[in-house]
């Protein structure tokens, strides 16, 4: 820059412009510090804004996936503990059938007592088949009726899977169709227990022996379903963990894009303050002298 003439006005205008610029930078830093954010509007960093919006989408999605997974875990926990009880109950029924099949050691009175216990197990299983999570039967599909089996052992649910989305493209089923566990109507565990009780009361040894096999098969079925549900439980738990982890690291990313580094910003503010004070001091000195001060 070649300076030919310098006028007082150039000095004042220049000083004012510099003071303005300094003050503007102070204001920008002050905004960053007081909002704690480096991106306060899209133009502050258009690319960063897009990234921030994308990450916000992901954070929100992952948070939702974690919530979905928690809900799914609730369902599957209920399914698992119920199936645990079901296994125990079916095994007990099979034990009773085995006892009843032991004709030599057992009189009809004892078999009647066994039959009463089998009836009790049937009631217990009926209760378990209607196990619910947050007032929805976990074996009833998508029914709105509140129960999966009626008292006759007939499935009254509505076909349909209860799914939970736990990642972008991962949907996990969190319920179990009651029919795969308990059967339905004539082929249900309730009918099987009824048959056992009837056979016990009638002293029908062949019938009791047949029930032993049937109940063993039922036990296997229940165990199989429980294992399958357990696998899904594991998947959903891993997903919940993954969603939590992803949310945390995404939140960190978001913070590194959007948020101001307080220490760094404070140092910059301090530097800017010094620059502003220097500009003020320079202005006050530049404004003072003129030839008139030296002519008398």
């Amino acid at each position: 820059m070649t300076i030919g003439r310098v006028t007082q006005r150039m000095l004042t205008d220049g000083s004012l412009a510099n003071l303005q610029r300094n003050l503007g930078q102070l204001a920008a830093l002050q905004e960053r510090l007081s909002t704690g954010r480096v991106i306060n509007r899209p133009s502050d960093n258009p690319t960063g804004t897009t990234a921030a919006m994308r990450i916000r989408t992901s954070v929100s999605d992952q948070g939702q996936y974690a919530r979905n997974a928690q809900d799914g875990i609730g369902w599957l926990t209920q399914v698992d503990s119920t199936l645990d009880g079901v296994t125990t109950a079916v095994r007990r029924a099979r034990d009773l059938a085995l006892q009843g099949a032991n004709t030599g050691a057992m009189g009809q009175q004892a078999r009647d007592a066994l039959a009463i216990e089998v009836d009790g197990i049937r009631e217990q299983l009926l209760g378990q088949s209607n196990a619910s999570y947050l007032e929805r039967p976990v074996f009833g599909g998508v029914t709105a009726a509140g129960r999966a089996y009626d008292d006759t052992g007939t499935w009254v649910g509505v076909d349909g899977a209860v799914n939970r989305r736990v990642a972008d493209d991962v949907v996990v089923r969190v319920d179990v169709d009651g029919r795969t566990v308990f059967g339905d109507g004539a082929s249900s565990v309730f009918a099987e227990l009824d048959a056992l009780a009837t056979a016990l009361r009638a002293g029908d040894t062949a019938g009791i022996t047949a029930s032993v096999d049937v109940l063993r098969a039922r036990e296997d079925t229940v165990t199989g379903v429980r294992a399958a549900a357990g696998t899904r439980y594991q998947r959903i738990e891993q997903s919940a963990q993954a969603a939590d982890d992803a949310k945390m690291s995404l939140t960190n990313n978001l913070s590194s894009i959007e948020n101001a580094d307080l220490a760094e910003t404070t140092v910059h503010l301090k530097l800017q303050e010094v620059a502003y004070q220097a500009a003020l001091a320079a202005t006050s000195r530049v404004m003072q002298p003129s030839l008139l001060d030296f002519l008398r």
Binding site: M1, I3, G4, R5, V6, T7, Q8, R9, M10, T12, D13, G14, A17, I39, R41, P42, S43, D44, N45, P46, T47, T49, T50, A52, M53, R54, R56, T57, S60, D61, G63, Q64, R67, N68, D71, L134, E135, R136, G141, V142, T143, A144, V158, D159, G160, V162, N163, R164, R165, V171, E258, S290, L291, L292, L295
Partner: protein, 467 residues
């Protein structure tokens, strides 16, 4: 050789000249901080009557000094460049100011904008899919859908409001252009007359330069200096001021006198005695503040609004289509959730379902507690991406304008500096001029005293012998 009193005249001319020099220095000092003032310098001309008769010989040494001219220290080339760069600067800074205001209303990225409302709605659908029987979850979907619709509507309202403001602004600018143009034409005339009378028109020229600069800032007008010193001002290639006549700058179409929109594109016209011309539009049209306002009204804001319309249209269409694919709590097929009128755009977006049971969360009929459709509803549409691109585009525009404005401020500042170097008043310099003139005045007065004494000697003390 001049007569006996010739030298007294020389001394007198020195007194007069230095008085003018003091006057001019005083005027410069008085106007040191006046906007648009150009410093003056007295140009002295030494006087000689060397207009001797034929064959005669002039043996004088000059008859003193006269004020040759009070020169305005201006540079027409520099003035033209200052006008051009200031025109561009006001175009950029006006665009930037308007867009930055729109951008502040967007509120992104953050927890309260349209984008956050979109995410909230998605999550509400997911929550509904977890609990399709819950009235609270359904109510939440309705609430968040309304929040989203409202957020989009309020952005559109921001833009519509800005458009209305800028239309009024355009009519104000047009009237300012006309005032400046007629003022400039009048000054053209006054300067011509004043100077023909032999009077100094410096003050009028200062004022005319300021008006020419203001016209450049308002419309990007180009000023050319005619051979007779008159300014011709043209906007977008058409003369607005010629000599003492100014044309009328007219808003030809697009904006009604009350600042409303009349549906046609915005165009301007110049009506003058040399014809009525409709100015070109776009980059060949008026520039400066008016050009910025016109472009914002013609291109920038409508395209942002169209982007919001597309976002709203996609939201309504994709959600309504998915609603129709599912079943509500009563088991009936889902009806539209959003009302949207493509003729009105995003401003018409609203939630039309009031009964939460009417949300089609289920993908199976018969009133089953299924959340499959709610899950799908959270995933339809591309409106969040489209909205992100829109915000990114706006942010990029504002950031680019920020940079260009900063560059232009530097450029215009450098030119202003150059002009100030040429035309500004330096108080030290004026003090020196003042002292010089004062001393010269004193010396001329001394000359007069000396001559007086010489003549006194000659007249009163010479030839006393005969008394």
């Amino acid at each position: 050789m001049a007569g006996s009193f010739g030298s007294i005249n020389t001394a007198l001319s020195g007194l007069r000249y230095n008085q003018v020099a003091l006057d001019v220095a005083g005027n410069n000092i008085a106007n040191a901080s006046t906007d648009g003032y150009v410093r003056r310098r007295v140009v002295g001309a030494s006087v000689s009557s060397a207009q001797a008769a034929l064959w005669s010989r002039y043996d004088g040494h000059g008859e003193g000094v006269a004020v040759g001219e009070v020169r305005r220290m201006t540079d027409p080339l520099l003035d033209a460049r200052v006008r051009r760069e200031h025109g561009l600067l006001s175009y950029l800074s006006t665009s930037r100011t308007i867009l930055a205001r729109v951008e502040e209303g967007v509120g992104e990225p953050g927890p309260n904008g349209v984008h956050a409302a979109m995410l909230d709605l998605r999550n509400a659908w997911q929550d509904l899919s977890l609990n399709p029987g819950g009235t609270a979850a359904r109510q939440q979907v309705l609430g968040r859908a309304e929040t989203l619709a409202q957020a989009l509507r309020s952005q559109v309202a921001n833009i519509t409001g800005e458009e209305a403001d800028q239309r009024v602004n355009a009519t104000n600018l047009v009237s300012e252009v006309n005032t400046a143009a007629s003022g400039l034409a009048a000054l053209n005339h006054d300067i011509l007359v004043t100077e023909q009378n032999g009077t100094d028109a410096g003050v009028l020229r200062d004022r005319r330069d300021q008006l020419a600069l203001r016209l450049a800032e308002l419309t990007g007008a180009v000023t050319t200096v005619e051979s007779d010193g008159q300014f011709t001002v043209s906007v977008a290639g058409t003369a607005l001021v010629q000599g003492k006549e100014a044309g009328a700058f007219v808003l030809a179409s697009g904006i009604t006198p009350t600042g409303g929109a009349d549906g046609s594109p915005i165009s301007y016209r110049i009506d003058a005695s040399w014809g009525s011309t409709v100015l070109p539009s776009g980059s060949a049209g008026p520039s400066g503040e008016l050009g910025a306002v016109t472009e914002i009204l013609t291109t920038t804001l409508p395209s942002y609004r169209a982007g919001l319309d597309a976002v709203a249209a996609d939201l309504a269409a994709s959600v309504n289509a998915q609603q129709a694919a599912g079943y509500d709590a009563t088991g009936a097929a889902g009806g539209p959730l959003f009302g949207y009128d493509p003729l009105v755009g995003a401003a018409s977006l609203q939630v039309v379902i009031t009964d939460p049971a009417r949300l089609a969360a289920s993908s199976v009929g018969g009133g089953a507690l299924d959340g499959g459709n709610a899950d799908l509803l959270s995933r339809v549409g591309t409106y969040p991406d489209a909205y992100q691109r829109l915000v990114n585009g706006l942010g990029t525009d504002v950031a680019a304008l920020d940079r260009r404005t900063a560059n232009q401020v530097a450029l215009a500042g450098a030119l202003d500096d150059a002009r100030e170097q040429q035309a500004g008043v330096n108080l030290d310099e004026e003090t020196v001029n003042m002292v010089t003139a004062q001393r010269a005045y004193e010396a001329a007065a001394r000359l007069l005293t000396t001559l007086d004494e010489v003549l006194d000697t000659l007249i009163n003390r010479t030839g006393l012998v005969g008394r």
